[in-house]
């Protein structure tokens, strides 16, 4: 029997500027039964000092400290080993919960009796806020994870891979087999989420908009940095395609390939933020990835892109095919 009802995992690296908001949120959401696990990933700013003070206001807080920076994936894996709860969710160190968020999460998964539940979230840019919804019209309706892949041409829940916008039942999902890929400095949550969808049986979406995601540029956000870590999406996409192929589910395979192509197009449109060397790397690796993907899925996926993207991706695919 786990000691807590819910564990919340937070990885923090030089998050001092934002941590006081997330810690204030944690203090507000704290109650008996909630276990907080924060991994300080070798921060050099005020993160450690703030976490030390937080133990006075956040009960059941465990702080784990990496002596050497290991990245968010390895930090989350380390936190997983300390989880002692029935349910699991995540919080990014620069985000926060609205009042009652965790209570609603737990009651939703209990009521719906599914393996995991997903939620909408709010994108915050200063005072500006925008609601981001799970691309899934079935709300509060338990359904098979296999039906979540949808059909090409429409976005689906697999295009919304925010692990913190959800809650996971660890009696139904075996966390020991669910490590984040520590080789990936960014995008490690993508294959993790795919693995959950492929291994779990049931899921549901609830219209909860009390997760606040800070869009404001964060100097430590590798996904926005335009450096070599930005290209980790390629390794993540290759892992996802392998997972989908192993599942044998044709809709999952089509969705995996389409998602990879979508991301290639996305990054090609923004390639000016990369150095010329990295731009070349992006094109070469993307071409190789698409050449290695199931070609019938590539051809099907290509048909749902707009003409501009189709031309761009088509040329890349031809390069890859040699």
């Amino acid at each position: 029997m786990p000691a807590h009802e819910l564990a919340v995992v937070i990885a923090a690296h030089n998050a001092g500027e934002f941590l006081r908001t997330s810690l204030a949120s944690m203090a507000r959401e704290s109650r008996d039964g909630i276990q907080w696990i924060v991994v300080d990933d070798a921060s050099t700013d005020s993160t450690a000092a703030q976490l030390e003070r937080a133990s006075a206001t956040v009960p059941h807080l465990t702080v784990l400290t990496n002596e050497v920076n290991q990245g968010v994936a390895a930090s989350r894996n380390r936190a997983h080993r300390a989880v002692d709860a029935r349910y699991l969710t995540y919080l990014d160190a620069d985000d926060w919960y609205g009042p009652g968020h965790l209570e609603h999460l737990v009651s939703s998964i209990k009521d719906l009796q599914v393996d995991f539940v997903r939620t909408d979230h709010v994108v915050v840019d200063g005072h500006e806020r925008r609601l981001s919804r799970v691309p899934e019209m079935r709300r509060r309706i338990p359904h098979a994870t296999s039906s979540a892949f949808g059909f090409l041409g429409k976005r689906c829940a697999l295009n919304y891979l925010y692990i913190w916008a959800g809650i996971y039942d660890l009696e139904r999902i075996d966390l020991t087999g669910l490590d984040f890929d520590a080789r990936l400095r960014t995008a490690s949550d993508r294959p993790w989420m795919w693995q959950v969808y492929l291994e779990a049986e049931s899921t549901a979406v609830v219209p909860l908009n009390t997760y606040f995601y800070r869009k404001t540029t964060n100097a430590t956000a590798l996904t926005q940095a335009g450096n070599v870590s930005t290209l980790d999406f390629i390794g993540a996409s290759e892992s996802i395609t392998s997972l989908a192929l192993a599942s044998g589910d044709p809709r999952a395979i089509d969705r995996a390939v389409h998602s990879a192509m979508f991301l290639v197009d996305f990054h090609l449109e923004r390639e000016e933020r990369l150095t010329p060397e990295l731009q070349e790397h992006l094109r070469a690796r993307s071409a190789a990835m698409l050449a290695a993907a199931p070609q019938d899925s590539v051809d099907r996926a290509l048909r749902v892109f707009d003409p501009h993207a189709r031309d761009l991706l088509g040329a890349l695919i031809e390069t890859g095919r040699g």
């Binding site: 908001t21 204030a24 507000r28 703030q50 003070r53 005072h127 806020r129 908009n209 606040f212």
Partner: protein, 355 residues
């Protein structure tokens, strides 16, 4: 019913003072909307968390505007036309679906007050001026379409000796006496500092903690045996405990309270001294009877000193509020154009063009 909007405890205290002084209709059905414009309202200490006794009996009901607008921020949210009716329904339904016969607001141009004006377009308006921003020359005048609706303007003597701009109205404001405001603030036996630091900048900005600690030391050196810190920055969103612990880590052990009824009561205690950088909160404590001072840096010695607030010092504080005024009155910024969005627009245009 009349809808009154208070964006903080000071505004609420001033409104109650006007009611008690008979400066507004006495026998009317009033409901109060309260709004938090903290940077992150979801985690902010909220003044209505402390039951404000001076609201008792003056309002039939109180509604949290943040909750009505959630998850959007009241300082930014300008509901699109398709959502306006839903928001009006939510507000009116909470109070029994009465007609809104008057709006009473602390601003004509800053959100969320301007949002209410945009929602209840047929209601006449009473303006309450009790924020130092109202005295700045940079405050944009109300558009004529709003000014025509304003039938009452009440103001506190917050900046003595300074003449308030007309704000686009055709008449001068009626004064709410300082004594009436002081009379609304009850004595609170639970807190008895004889020195109150008004922390009117974000306490976690660089050097802010040091400045707060230095201000507490100044008050102690001025003879205040007991000093408390009131977190009065409008955008402040952290916990009192966290500030207290951070100050303690620097060797300053003081009580830390929110800018709420307790802080107002502390400022109204006879003989209390208050010290801040220069804000509505600091001037409010002066109005409540505190001996208020601004922390100023001596140009020659670089030492921080206390300068009692007089007419000249109060007027000198006005320019520092320009930026805040601009931020709250600016229209919401449009989304940044993205290549994908521009391509979509271009495609749409091509489809509409002949040939």
């Amino acid at each position: 019913m009349e809808l009154w909007l208070a964006d903080g405890p000071w505004t609420a205290a001033v409104m109650v003072a006007a009611i008690d002084a008979g400066l507004v209709d006495v026998d009317t059905d009033r409901v109060l909307l309260v709004a938090s414009c903290a940077e992150v309202p979801e985690v902010a200490h909220w003044w209505t968390d402390e039951p404000p006794a001076f609201l008792d009996g003056r309002f039939r009901a109180v509604l949290d505007l943040n909750a009505a607008m959630e998850p959007y921020h009241p300082a930014h949210y300008a509901p699109p036309s398709r959502n306006k009716h839903d928001l009006v329904d939510a507000i009116v339904a909470a109070f029994g679906a009465h007609d809104v016969t008057r709006l009473v607001v602390p601003s004509l141009t800053a959100r969320p007050a301007s949002t209410l004006l945009d929602l209840f377009t047929t209601s006449p308006v009473t303006l309450f001026s009790c924020d130092v921003a109202a005295w700045t020359r940079d405050l944009p005048p109300a558009p004529a379409s709003v000014a025509f609706r304003v039938t009452g303007h009440l103001a506190v003597p917050l900046v003595p000796g300074a003449r308030m701009p007309r704000l686009g109205l055709e008449f001068d404001p009626e004064e709410i006496p300082a004594s009436a405001v002081a009379a609304t603030v009850p004595d609170d036996a639970s807190i008895h500092p004889d020195g109150l630091v008004i922390a009117d900048t974000d306490p976690f900005l660089p050097d802010a903690l040091e400045r707060t600690a230095a201000a507490a030391a100044l008050l102690a050196a001025a003879g205040c045996a007991s000093v408390a810190v009131a977190l009065a920055h409008p955008g402040h969103d952290s916990r009192h405990t966290d500030v207290r612990l951070a100050l303690a880590a620097q060797g300053t052990d003081v009580d830390v309270i929110g800018w709420g009824p307790r802080a107002l009561a502390a400022a109204a205690r006879p003989g209390v001294r208050t010290l801040g950088a220069g804000s509505t909160a600091l001037l409010a404590t002066a109005m409540l009877g505190a001996r208020a001072a601004a922390a100023v840096r001596d140009a020659d010695t670089d030492a921080v000193m206390m300068r009692d607030i007089d007419d000249e010092a109060a007027a000198a504080m006005l320019p520092m509020h320009r930026q805040r005024v601009a931020a709250r009155t600016a229209p919401p910024t449009p989304s940044v154009p993205r290549p994908r969005g521009l391509r979509r627009i271009a495609r749409g245009l091509r489809r509409r063009l002949p040939g």
